[in-house]
Amino acid sequence: MNLHILVLIPVLTALTTLFFKELKQVRMIAFLGSALQLLLSFALLAVFYAERAAGNVAPMLFYSSIPWFPSLGIAYTTGIDGIAMAMILLSAFVVLAGVLVSWKMEKLSREFFFLLMLLSAGAYGFFISLDLFVMFFFLEIAVIPKFLLIGVWGSGRKEYSAMKLALMLMGGSALVFLGLMGIYFNSADIHGLHTFNIIELSVRHIPYSAQMLFFPFAFIGFGIFGALFPFHTWVPDGHSSAPTAASMFLAGISMKLGGYGCLRVATYLMPEAAHTYSPIIILLAAIAIIYGAFATMMQTDLKYINAYSSVSHCGFVLLGIGMMNETAITGAVMQMISHGLMTALFFAAIGMIYERTHTRMLSQLGGLLKVMPFISSIFVIAGLCSLGLPGFSGFVAEMTVFMGSWQHVETGFRIATILSCASIVVTAVYILRAAGKSIMGPIVNEHHLHLNDATWNEKLAAIVLLFGIVTIGIAPFWLSNLIGPGVHGLMANIGRTILS
């Protein structure tokens, strides 16, 4: 299986949209492209399983490397393990749903879908690449379309938010870049040659002092993408100003780039430093979890609620990574997947509500369950997933993180774990508050009585995401088995280095 097709399809879809003008054509192209991508992802999953079943134990499957800038050691190196596979599936789900909820994007539809597809190409490329530079390239590709998506199609203080998001993510990538430089120039082999290749790097030993210097850059840099406290402020503004599909993408995929990078680059390649810094990471993650949850409780705008809750939820990802054991990291990856799907669903529901009622303020909403039962149900289900209800993916992921975190016996780590666990209560508070005010209760605005429920495309979008959420929630073992070996491979390296 050739992985390049994963990047190629979104790019070609994006380019194809440019040749059409009408919304109907453009959205159909985008839909077909992303549906094809989803099918391909499933096919890839099948092939992946087949390879593994056939006894292929290489850390990365479908490995290929095409020299790009040989003099700088840059090659277009691709390959996936279970973690990347899971992320690809996540992206495919979210993108398809994103296209579907944007079905009536009348304003500059061609540009909208073009940017959306470009964004998804960046995400896919990021997940499949095994070369730090290429990874960075794809990471940055995914920044600017967001700026335009938010600024042009957004709502509220969209320009401000778009600018803030772009600048903070840019700051993140600047830090990442420094981290990469540090890794690259400390990766000399016996011939003094440097490399960007992750697999190569994982067997080379970066000096401890260099790790200590550059780990913070790489980690914070990716952490900014992943809403690391206190660099999370782009999240609320960005998410809430973005158009629905972009919010879904931002929270569903984009923030995962950060988590994935923290794991794959910062922690994997600089394990000793990660080990040394882990108390700080865990502290920040625990703060993000609790603080994000409490901040969510005070929000009055549905999108802000979900955005702040994303801060809190993404804290679990960093917490899991910071704990640095197999279970916790598996949980972190699961949390990425779970949060990606769940938050996308949440944003989709909020978007549908906003599209109809033209408000997202809790005080102006109420009793929507009566007029739009489907959308309301989706909203509630997303909320329940968010608060970690069994049967949905959130539970599986959070529990794995907790279980892994608890393996750390030091009192400080335990306290952080307990605090993080406590967030499940606060989460319940804010989710129920939001649902209680907007979905339940009496109808606040008479005009809302005449609104329609979801259309077929919106339903399909919700069902696509719901499918993912529920599949993980009901049968988490397949995800765990998919991710597990990948995490095991990561941990083997980390463990080896720390012990030696």
Partner: protein, 470 residues
Amino acid sequence: MLNEFVILMKQELLLCIILFITLILKISENENNPKNWIGIINGLLLINFLAGFFLSTTGELFNGMFKVSELIIFEKNILNLGLLIVSLMAQPYLKNHKHLPEFYMLLLSTLIGMFFMISSGNLLMFYVGLELSTIPMAALANFNLNKANSSEAGMKMILSSAFSSALLLMGVSFIYGTTGTFNFTQITASLDNNALQVFAFVLLFTGFAFKLSVVPFHFWTADVYEGAPVPVAAYLSVVSKAAVAFVFVTVLYKVFGTMANLWYVLLFLTSVLTIGIGNIFAVRQENIKRFLAFSSIAQVGFILVGISSGTKAGEASMIYFLLIYLFSNLGAFAVVNVVSTMSGKENISDYKGFYKTNPALSWFLTIALFSLAGVPPTAGFFGKLFLLTSGASTGNYLLVGFAAINMIISMYYYLRIVKAIFMDENAMPIASIKTEILPRIAIIICIVGILATGFMGSVYNYIYLLSSGI
């Protein structure tokens, strides 16, 4: 001998021939429509550009006063391409200008000067080339003859550059006084880094810094770009800067390689200042040309970071960056020129709502700006990152970190324009503009260059093989 002479100097000679053709056209002036001329000259420039790729030989003339290497040919080709693009994009500006042949004569003579400067192996040759590339530029800056701003720009440019050349010459005189030669190789051989030589070197350094608009020698830049006609500003910001940068690297690496520790410090200091000041000023600009001037100052700062490494990769990255920068900046200027000529509007606020009326131009400008900002998948990303990578290769993470952080600021101001174009509302947006064919070609070349160069690793490798470092 003659044969060798002709082949080695083919690029200069071709330009001279074109220069004389324009001169003849001027002299035999009849009331022909200048449009035909533009076509002819652009055709000639295209031939000139293409001819650069044939019959390439390397060698030296006049005791190393004139050197040609593959790298130099490549650099000249880059400049030729720049000239061609400037010429194409200048068409809307020139078609109503009375002094079209003169414009081309001045432009061509500056390019000839740059070529000689690049090929020079001798301080005299270098100086002559430098002045030849500067003095006509001042005249060009003043080419909006009836505009006070244009005259002011020309005045600032000629006086500043005269002052700068005086200092440069003092440096040259001290180098001569301490080494007794103008020949680069002989200078290198007889350097012993005594105080007077260092002083002379610094004076020489500032001469380059002036042309490259390195802070604090950059003050003329913004004023001249703002006052000068857009194509001239474009040419100044790209072609003349690139030429000086090429020579600068050669001089630093080849001639003053033994002073590497010294100029490393100077580059460190000036690059920090350049990036910082360039960015801080760019943030507040309202005039788009002036804005591009400050942004190009900041870009120069990045070049300095790359050069400071003194490695092969540093040189290669610098040339690669300049190639990309040529596409990006000329692309931006091409759009600005079309808008400025057709609507007379040059302020960033005028671009509000631009996308509604001119989607294609908006995208072109946006892509060019993104490339300047270093956003993938545009080539600017690669250019900038390779510069920083080479900068980091000497372990100078502090400088690279500063530069990387400054990319955020630069991102801000580029996005400010993108925001104006796409997001801001405007009751009176710039009317829909019909771009003529030549500027359109120019823009498309730039955009294709921006989008393609980064993906072609072979280009970088080619440059890398030619480069040499200290």
